[in-house]
């Protein structure tokens, strides 16, 4: 017997019956509606208060110094870098969705790319806070850039930490540009549909006078594709460089050549988990089930499973090469500090990590789980925790037990650490909630394009081949569209 399918769930990329006007109205009304939902307001208030914790932690750090954190020798790097890497990683899915899937002609990106890009921006913004506060002497933060200064000192270009400065700033800037360029046509839509004068003026100024000229579109699409082409290697380089932060140090458990691909996969893994954590409530709250459809959720779940398996592969390699290296330090790190619950105070985190990142994703092999939003939501939460734990394991186990037993020590975070960490979660969600009410969370122009490819939304389509064929035709006819 065929199970009755819920009417508001669809496995296509867009629900039936949509035309240009209806998608425009549907998405822009979320922004332009003057009704403020109680739930939204309540959530903003809650998260803004949580974000206040970040402010508190920041004030503590600025006033009293980094000594308020739990870091100390031997763990000179702790929550700061754990949270930094965690957030950066989460940011990666946004770029992956918007850039790589665009290059791969994966049209299912269309309805999730905008908010995924916003997620990237906010996540990278949150990530950037930690190094900024950790440097201690904040007034000299500009020393990280290659500007001549009174010390006559240049950045140490052989350090991956300086590469981080370049990578993170480039990433933030290019993501912001990519995001803004993508927003311009939608800002024009909002300008044209806004009912109040202030809204018209604000969206009008942001839209910069976009009028949809064919010549403008031509340059716009060329730029957009090329930015996607640039963002793709960029996003890989960012987490590769983050992995170098560790792999370059001769610390047991850090110095291993698999780190770059393993970190990149982990980043995408955590990022897609966050996409699901955001998308599942978003589509329910704003009735976007026919725009962010089950197909999107399932595809995200598949990417999560694939990258998760690479991460698990990374764990296997860490254990195997920990042994195969023959180095007693690597072996001690792997088999005692990480695995031995009796000997090591941090072994629990390694097992928790395996449960969250390894076991929890296994149900995703089944389509039933991949198409169950609640299950996906829960698994995504597990993965988010798991990816945080992964950085915890890498940093804390390795630093507390390095080469010299005399230099061993333990680490525990202080309340300021926790405030800064939980605070950024509040900051992230506050920014995100503001974003979905102030800007279109889904690219309207691209949704219209999607509608155009499917015959004005009248015919339902069953395979995703048609528009890809059209893309191919376009490229053949007009060589400039190639990238």
């Amino acid at each position: 017997m065929v199970q009755p399918q819920r009417t508001d769930e669809t496995f296509e990329m867009i629900g039936p019956g949509h035309n240009y006007e209806s998608v425009t109205e549907k998405i822009s009304s979320v922004v332009l509606s003057r009704r403020i939902s109680v739930l939204w307001l309540a959530l903003v208030l809650v998260f803004a208060h949580i974000a206040g914790l970040f402010g508190l932690g920041a004030v503590m750090t600025l006033f009293w110094g980094v000594g308020t954190w739990g870091n100390n020798i031997p763990v000179g790097w702790a929550f700061g870098i754990i949270n930094f890497v965690w957030w950066i990683g989460i940011g990666h899915a946004g770029t992956l969705i918007s850039a790589i899937l665009l290059l791969l002609h994966q049209n299912w990106r269309t309805s999730i790319n905008r908010f995924a890009e916003a997620m990237t921006l906010f996540a990278v913004f949150c990530a950037a806070q930690y190094p900024l506060f950790h440097i201690g002497r904040h007034m000299y933060a500009y020393w990280m850039f290659p500007v001549p200064n009174s010390m006559g000192l240049w950045p140490q270009f052989k350090s991956p930490l300086i590469w981080d400065v370049f990578a993170i700033n480039t990433y933030l800037l290019v993501s912001a540009l990519f995001w803004f360029v993508g927003l311009i046509p939608d800002l024009a839509t909002l300008r044209d549909r806004a009912r109040t004068k202030p809204a018209k003026i604000i969206y009008g100024m942001l839209a910069m006078g976009w009028r949809g000229s064919a010549l403008h579109w031509r340059r716009y699409t060329a730029l957009y594709l090329l930015l996607a082409g640039l963002s793709t290697p960029l996003v890989l380089s960012v987490h590769t460089i983050v992995s170098f932060d560790f792999a370059f140090g001769n610390v047991p458990g850090w110095h291993t050549t698999i780190f770059p691909p393993y970190f990149v996969a982990g980043a995408v893994f955590a990022g897609f988990a966050m996409v699901l954590i955001l998308a599942i409530p978003l589509r329910a709250a704003f009735h976007l089930r026919d725009v962010i459809t089950m197909k999107h959720l399932e595809n995200c779940a598949k990417v999560m499973l694939a990258t998760g398996m690479i991460v698990v592969y990374g764990y296997i390699m860490e254990v195997f090469f920990g042994w195969y290296s023959g180095s007693e330090y690597e072996r001690y790190m792997t088999f005692v500090t990480r695995m031995n619950l009796n000997e090591s105070p941090y072994a629990w985190s390694w097992y928790a990590l395996l449960i969250c990142n390894g076991l929890a994703i296994q149900p995703l092999w089944f389509k039933k789980v991949r198409t169950n939003p609640l299950a996906l939501f829960v698994i995504s939460l597990f993965v988010s925790v798991g990816m945080w734990l992964e950085r915890f394991v890498i940093i804390v186990t390795s630093l507390t037990r390095d080469f010299l037993p005399a230099a061993w020590g333990n680490y525990s975070p202080t309340w300021v650490d926790w405030a800064l960490y939980i605070g950024t979660i509040g900051l992230f969600f506050t920014l995100f909630l503001l974003f979905i009410r102030l800007l279109p969370a889904i690219s309207i122009a691209e949704m219209r394009e999607l509608v155009a490819h499917h015959g004005h939304g009248t015919a339902s389509f069953t395979e995703h081949g048609t528009e890809e064929m059209a893309d191919a035709r376009l490229v053949e006819e007009h060589p400039t569209n190639k990238f």
């Binding site: 200064n149 009174s150 006559g152 000192l153 044209d192 003026i201 006078g209």
Partner: protein, 218 residues
């Protein structure tokens, strides 16, 4: 659809964007300028509790540096003169000069004179005067012609780049040991040639080691 913006906004928007960019550049430039050598207060006279003139004491009176900075050739710190050092002469000459009132005050009360530091390295820099003198670095090299300063000022930036400049190429700056206190000494042969000889003679470490971080940051 009605126009939202007046035609003049086109010009206005462009001007404002350029204005913001120019403003940011100017701001950056100002911060930059403030941090360069002007920011390190080179050549800015430093007010001291007593208007002491190095020019007068060194050039006119011929007093050696070590008379007041007694530990310069033995220790890390060159030493600042105590009130007693001043009073060895000034109990006899200029003993009622109003300029010397703070010195006599200090002598009477036992409260030391609070000299203002001219060159002060941060705590994370390990600097030792004696080794520099031993290897032929003159006072002049770092402090300038103090013998010509009626009031004291900082002569060099004391920035790390400046230190490392010499650590990288000591031959350009060193001189025979016997002339390190001679303020007006000039080499009578090629400086670099002489410097290379002295490097050998005084066992000065190669630049690779002299620029090792832990030479100064220990």
């Amino acid at each position: 659809m009605a126009q939202i913006f007046h035609p003049s906004t086109n010009t206005l928007s462009r001007i404002s964007i350029i204005g913001v960019l120019v403003g940011l550049l100017a701001l950056g430039g100002a911060i930059y300028a403030g941090n360069m050598s002007y920011g390190s207060r080179v050549n800015v006279p430093i007010e001291q509790p007593v208007q002491f003139s190095h020019k007068h004491h060194v050039t006119d009176d011929g007093i050696d540096c070590r008379y007041c900075h007694t530990s310069v050739d033995k220790a890390a710190f060159a030493g600042l003169p105590s009130t007693e050092t001043c009073m060895t002469c000034h109990s006899q000459i200029w003993s009622d000069s109003p300029l010397l009132e703070p010195v006599r005050q200090s002598w009477a009360t036992g409260q030391p004179i609070v000299w203002q530091r001219v060159n002060d390295q941060p705590d994370f820099v390990f600097f030792n005067h004696s080794i520099h003198l031993k290897k032929g670095v003159s006072c002049v090299t770092c402090h300038g012609r103090v013998d010509q300063m009626p009031v004291i000022w900082k002569d060099k930036t004391m920035s790390m780049a400046w230190c490392v400049d010499c650590h990288r190429n000591p031959e350009k700056h060193i001189r025979p040991r016997e002339f390190v206190y001679d303020m007006g000494w000039q080499p009578n042969m090629d400086q670099v040639k002489m410097g290379l000889q002295l490097i050998k003679e005084y066992d000065i470490l190669p630049a690779q080691q002299l620029t090792n971080c832990s030479i100064c940051h220990r």
